[in-house]
């Protein structure tokens, strides 16, 4: 036994025996699907005639790579599934490229890969093709993941940030800020204990539930970096409408709020990995809300506001009856004491 045992070596990415061993013993076995098992250069996917596809890609570099409620593998799968789901697309297959740092423990890699397989199963999607590279120690921090996804957009469906209309109800699928505060706590060693957990989750099931209620959903956006405030600003600009939300209606877990207050952060700008905002035809808003609450990822869904006529922008009504303008996030929020 030497020290390199149980660790990733440069040779694992060199394309030779070790690479094959890694692919077959780990990826093919855990991701377990036909297109991948063929180990061809590309995966073949069958599409119905006349179908529109959604296509998306994203890189994942979160640090630390494991944290309460998730890990880099889980968010790499969920993030891409969610990007597809925001167009209403049903995921057909995901590709996964892993960039591993030499010396990464095999055990850690196994856990991450398991977690990817679990997330894919939860989302009902297959990881049909992939690639693995190994870079020298120090050239990456642990591992990075790039996932791409292809999804099928149901006939006649058109969801876009441009579609918000005056009068639409603004709904969110649950509490905000859980992921961002959890990861910051783990990364910066802030020493917070308690019920902080990342919300990383696939939202395609939730979206299917929502879309089953009439064709009343106009905009979906997942609330990743930049949080709710940034997503609302993007939608408001794209649709040329004013969005007004109620501060008291915005759901934030007590512990997350306490963490935010201690660090001078605003939960409206903190990242989520399993939450969405929707603009929905007012008439059907309560039906959509019910459909959301029927899904485990939308139990705490609520209406937080309304789309109004006016100059593009986002306004929040405060509990004392005032108003506050919400701008896009600028810069990365750092924990502060002042």
């Amino acid at each position: 036994m030497n020290e390199a045992n149980g660790r990733i070596l440069l040779a694992h990415g060199a394309g030779g025996r070790l690479t094959h061993e890694l692919i077959e013993s780990l990826f093919v076995r855990r991701f377990d699907n036909k297109p991948l098992a063929a180990l061809d250069d590309s995966a073949e996917l069958k599409l119905p005639d006349d179908c529109r596809i959604a296509f998306t890609t994203d890189g994942y570099v979160v640090k630390p790579i494991e944290f309460p409620g998730g890990d880099i593998g889980r968010i790499a799968v969920c993030g891409t599934v969610n990007d597809l789901a925001m167009l209403g697309a049903r995921p057909l297959g995901l590709s996964v490229a892993l960039i591993l740092e030499e010396g990464l423990e095999r055990e850690t890699l196994n856990r991450i890969v398991d977690s990817m397989a679990d997330a894919a199963k939860e989302a009902g999607v297959e990881l049909v093709t992939g690639d693995t590279k190994v870079v020298e120690r120090g050239a990456a921090s642990g591992l990075y993941i790039v996932t791409s996804g292809v999804g099928m957009i149901p006939y006649g469906l058109s969801l876009s940030g441009r579609n918000a209309r005056v009068g639409d109800a603004v709904l969110v699928s649950g509490t905000l800020g859980d992921h961002g505060i959890t990861v910051m706590n783990a990364r910066e060693g802030l020493g917070f204990e308690g019920d902080l957990r990342s919300d990383a989750a696939p939202l395609n099931g939730l979206v299917e539930n929502m879309l089953s209620v009439h064709s009343s959903v106009r905009v979906l956006r997942d609330l990743t970096r930049g949080g709710l405030a940034t997503a609302l600003n993007e939608i408001s600009r794209a649709s040329g409408v004013l969005i007004e939300i109620e501060e008291t209606a915005v759901p934030v877990r007590n512990s997350v709020l306490a963490g935010c207050q201690m660090l001078g952060l605003d939960p409206l700008y903190v990242a989520n990995e399993g939450k969405l905002v929707a603009m929905v035809d007012e008439t059907y808003a309560s039906g959509v809300l019910r459909a959301m609450r029927d899904h485990p990822r939308g139990r705490e869904a609520v209406r937080i506001g309304t789309v109004l006529k006016g100059e593009a922008g986002v306004v929040m009504r405060t509990p004392i009856g005032g108003a506050r303008r919400l701008l896009m996030l600028d810069g990365d929020p750092l924990p502060r004491i002042c």
Binding site: E244, L308, G310, T318, I320, P335
Partner: protein
């Protein structure tokens, strides 16, 4: 966090503010009662709660020098960067200071170039880093006011007791009352009253502010940071403004006993001596900083790492932060505001810190007040119909 049905009492309070401020304006013949909120957290609370936009035109809020980031000079940032670049040294700082530009970049830039700069939530966490890696030197960047300095002193005391030798502090602390004196000493100030910082006062209590009323005839209220605190503090202050004799009072009674925190004051005395400090964009103010007592030289980074550059680069051209922090003009009066100077392209310190007067004004759209109020009315109509 406003109890149900409180909107009514908010209205009543606002009515009182309208009435009292108008009355004062009639008496003084000026267009508005000018109130300086000394503390950046108050600046943020006024804006984030929407209260700022609800106040009548007869109340004008001025943001004071109470943001430690805003008042740290570019020279001091350069020196912090210099410490961070010393071989074998890790500089530990509150996240607040990461992006404040010196003459050759910020600590965040220095980190990108290879310096070991780490963020900590607490000075105790910085000491913990030092405990865990005795071969490295850890320097804590000691920024802050009276609220923060005692924690750093307590951390140094812990290090001394444990015999930890690889921990020191670069002290850049500032004190609030001397800054208020500097503002008031300029006879051209137009400050009718102060909203005084609640958490500084939790340490120093009420007495150190008495001179504000006694020598300069300006009243002040020590206030908390919740919207309802501010709603209570404003009428209290306006009532004081009307009185013959100026006085200082406490609204934030749940957190500020008149005597402050005696243990914290003791430890401040034990470790530090008052010293002149240079406030960014304001200048040198006598006795407004804290220097380590000579017996603690071993924990004073300035003593421990000789050779610190003394150069003080000039303030950025065109920036009017100094006049803003002194309460003489408003952010929107600066020609660079919102144009050349935004949070992403900050020219001056008031735009860098998220608590800075210019950043708050920018973030909450305070430039557009009058237009804003009109469009709000339109929205309300839209909601109803």
């Amino acid at each position: 966090m406003i109890p149900a049905g409180a909107i009514e009492s908010v209205r009543a309070t606002l009515d009182e503010i309208v009435r009292r401020s108008a009355e004062i304006c009639r008496r003084t013949g000026r267009d508005a009662v000018q109130i300086m909120e000394v503390c950046g957290t108050h600046t943020m609370s006024f804006a984030a709660s929407g209260l700022r936009g609800m106040l009548p035109d007869t109340v004008r809020l001025l943001s004071g020098p109470g943001c430690p980031v805003c008042v740290t000079t570019p020279g001091d940032v350069d020196r912090a960067v210099w410490f961070a670049r010393q071989p074998g040294v890790t500089l530990v700082t509150f996240g607040d200071m990461m992006k404040v530009p010196g003459s050759a970049g910020s600590l965040s830039d220095a980190r990108a170039l290879g310096a070991d700069v780490r963020m900590a939530y607490s000075p105790a966490d910085a000491l913990e880093l030092a405990r865990g890696d005795p071969q490295r030197e850890f320097i804590f960047l000691g920024v802050g006011f009276e609220t923060t300095a005692p924690l750093v002193a307590a951390t140094v005391r812990a290090a001394a007791r444990e015999g930890i030798r690889n921990f020191s502090v670069f002290p850049l602390f500032k004190l609030v009352p001397p800054a208020l004196r500097a503002i008031l000493a300029r006879r051209d100030h137009h400050i009718d009253g102060f909203i005084l910082p609640g958490h500084v006062s939790a340490i120093i209590g009420l007495d150190p502010y008495r001179f504000v009323a006694d020598e300069f005839g300006v009243p002040g209220i020590i206030a908390g940071f919740e919207p309802f605190d501010l709603l209570e503090a404003l009428p209290m202050l306006l009532r004081l403004c009307r009185q013959e004799k100026a006085a200082i009072d406490i609204q934030y009674t749940r957190g500020v006993p008149a005597g402050g925190n005696p243990a914290a004051l003791r430890i401040l005395k034990e470790f530090f001596l008052p010293a002149e400090a240079v406030w960014r964009a304001v200048g040198a103010i006598p006795d407004s900083g804290l220097a380590f007592r000579p017996e603690y030289d071993a924990f004073n980074a300035v003593r421990k790492f000789p050779g610190m550059p003394a150069h003080d680069p000039p303030e950025p051209k065109g920036c009017l932060c100094g006049a803003i922090l002194m309460g003489r003009i408003l952010p929107a009066d600066c020609p660079l505001f919102g144009a050349a100077c935004t949070p992403e392209t900050a020219v001056g310190p008031c735009m860098v810190s998220s608590e800075g007067a210019c950043a708050a004004a920018y973030k909450y759209g305070l430039t557009e007040t009058s237009r804003w109020k009109k469009s709000r009315r339109r929205q309300e109509v839209a909601v109803r119909s």
